[in-house]
Subunit: 425 residues, 2 copies
């Protein structure tokens, strides 16, 4: 491998021509590969095949004797509250188990705050102009909630050990209009970063000008380990409670990438005061969640050990895809000074950073060669990556051979665009 | 039967003493009967026992080839959209099929309007002080949505053929802050009223000062007939379209009281412009509904004929309970000038009107004798029945014998309280 910056203009031209020929060859193949979707493959969905039949026709009572088919049970069955308590690190009474979408829980929590405020606050957030901190690259659907509802977003860097806490502490201490922060604390989307214990502690302790500042802790990948040795994540609920900021965090999780992506169960956990407040709103919105699907999940997984055993099966299926991505990047991009990338130990994405100003062009070229990548910029608020360098790779959905082929094309595009950029200056 | 007003003071005193003795005897029995909940009985839920197993482990594709287990399908499966189109009287493309709760669809539609407004409007409803019309007696959870979100409620009478259209037309024509009306147009909760064709036409045509006035058409009991000859309801979508007010109605329905109360599927139907607007919001809130439960319902019911055949089974179970209520009222209350009541041909409730000022006391007495009734006033906005006379009877949940016994107690209480009232003046 030669660093591009060490190559002469002639060498660069020669390499560009080689890559152009390769690229044209890929184009000629009429590929149709999609690396955009953070969705499980159908082989992963098949792992939960027994979900369809594990809840018999007479299996209609929850642990507390509730007929799961009827109305009621606003915050979920006792057994699902316990299970999610274990998953998220909360007491059952801090947990609300809901429908199939944790995104909806997050969205609705924001909407309730806009219309009604939150405990310890000074009224509806929507009455003033407010802001959220957005560690980036991050999850586009978090940012979309803010954009849709007119909440200003402030980008803060997501470093290897979590978000840039120096910047965050400075911002929240001085600006009372900053009401929240989006966090994917474990195997972050898209970088795979897990927040360090220090970062969690600082988030819990930091002084905020807003008395009703909230952490939206989207622990989407809490049990989504690719390896036996897993990233440890400190307990944000306990950290906030110890720091005297018990009402600060809202935790979210789901079985979407555990059982079935569209038909799982979602939950949140928070302080008792927050939970009480949420249930007051929830009781106006609905009579209760689908308890049949909750009990179905309990019958299938039984307990946390069952969930973990099931996740190990997922890992067996998707680890080779992640490793194929990393391997391609290692062999085709490393040492050339044109890209950096993450080596996640869990979650659903690999994050690739090109040279500044190259990501959009790489995505465009790959697309023209039949490889769909997540739009450049999607991992930043308003879809604007200030350095135009981040590309999110989603390896789970396509079969392994397609992942390998797609990565060949992507690597070709990255190097080609990088050289063109260098030649044009 | 003698009308109370024809009875002498002595006769009244004698009858009161008889009833007091009866009442004390009921009290002594330590009854525990609950007539408050508009919930199906477990025998009704059992009708859908096969739901648990009707969707096999390999039955994973919808009509358009979608893997129902994965993410996506924001507005529902094509086949469920078609089915709800038939149920609600809409084209499939006007339908959005969602999770388990039509109440949530209504609530979220109101919330979206508060935060963002609706097509044809002048911005978010929440920016000004707005009002909803509430035909009453009506459904307490509709009123709770308004109260929770600070929407003022105006009571209009619900007559035998629908809401008081003269009053409604006058109100909406002159007050631009009136943005909506709650309607349960068929077998209304709690009176069992079905809106006449004329009422539907007037709702569709009436001139509203608000350009973005909306009808919240909660067709909760659209297929919930108790008898073979059913109440006919005009198509509000078509009526509004013909009248040039296509965007006026939002229709809601669900299978909550068809399959399983807590684990059914809910849907709404509206104009294409409204549907497009709703999907724009919905796509921020969620990735998609539980499509597995949607396909499960399709496998179980197959089509509208299947739904209707299933509803006939429900009717067989609950019709005797309704008839027991009516029979008790007929034999114990009729002709005494102390009560009037409805004879619903569908839905979930019987509505009882006592003499003015007696409902709260009747509910209190019944409760003391071990018969829980829906709180007096619950069927009116803010829980305030201006004449304190309406009591909602929910006969479906308790076994028939309990319904009969509870009605004996209720009738005793109504007559007793009526006589006491008369004696006290």
């Amino acid at each position: 491998m030669t660093d591009l910056s060490q190559m002469s203009r002639d060498e660069l031209v020669r390499r560009r021509d080689e890559l152009s020929a390769q690229y044209d060859a890929y184009r000629a193949r009429g590929l149709k590969l999609d690396m955009t979707r953070g969705k499980p493959g159908s082989d992963q969905l098949d792992l939960a095949k027994d979900m369809a039949v594990c809840l018999g026709p007479s299996d209609i009572k929850s642990a507390d004797g509730t007929d799961i088919r009827n109305y009621g049970g606003l915050d979920g069955l006792p057994e699902t509250k316990s299970l999610f308590g274990e998953i998220l690190g909360a007491k059952p009474e801090q947990v609300i188990v809901s429908g199939n979408s944790s995104l909806q829980l997050m969205h609705d929590t924001v909407v309730r705050a806009l219309l009604h405020g939150v405990p310890g606050g000074e009224g509806p957030w929507g009455k003033e102009s407010i802001k959220f901190l957005c560690p980036s690259p991050g999850y586009d659907r978090h940012f979309a909630i803010c954009e849709h509802h007119g909440i200003d977003m402030i980008v803060v860097a997501l470093n290897d050990d979590g978000p840039d806490m120096d910047a965050i502490e400075r911002l929240v201490e001085n600006d009372a209009s900053i009401k929240g922060i989006w966090c994917v604390p474990k195997y972050s989307n898209p970088t795979g970063t897990t927040y360090s214990e220090a970062a969690v502690a600082r988030l819990a302790k930091m002084k905020t000008a807003a008395p009703d500042f909230r952490i939206f802790w989207d622990n989407a990948y809490v049990v989504h380990d690719l390896y036996d040795t897993t990233d440890a994540l400190a307990n944000i609920l306990e950290a906030c409670e110890s720091a005297g900021n018990a009402n600060r965090p809202y935790l979210f999780g789901s079985t979407s990438k555990v059982s079935w992506a569209g038909a799982g169960i979602a939950a949140m956990a928070t302080s008792l005061a927050n939970a009480k407040d949420l249930k007051r709103h929830l009781g106006i919105q609905t009579i209760g969640p689908d308890k049949v699907n909750q009990l179905r999940h309990m019958r299938f997984f039984k307990d946390l050990a069952g969930v973990k055993a099931h996740m190990a099966k997922h890992a067996t299926l998707i680890r080779p895809k992640f490793e194929a991505v990393i391997e391609a990047f290692d062999s085709k991009l490393s040492g050339k000074g044109i890209a950096s990338f993450t080596r996640p130990r869990g979650g659903y994405f690999v994050s690739l950073d090109t040279l500044d100003g190259c990501a959009s062009e790489v995505v465009k070229r790959a697309d023209a060669a039949g490889v769909k990548l997540t739009a450049a910029g999607a991992t930043f608020p308003y879809g604007r990556d200030p350095r135009d360098r981040n590309i999110r790779i989603a390896p789970t959905l396509p079969p392994l051979e397609q992942v390998k082929l797609a990565m060949e094309v992507v690597c070709c595009c990255v190097e080609l665009v990088s050289i063109e950029r260098r030649l044009s200056v």
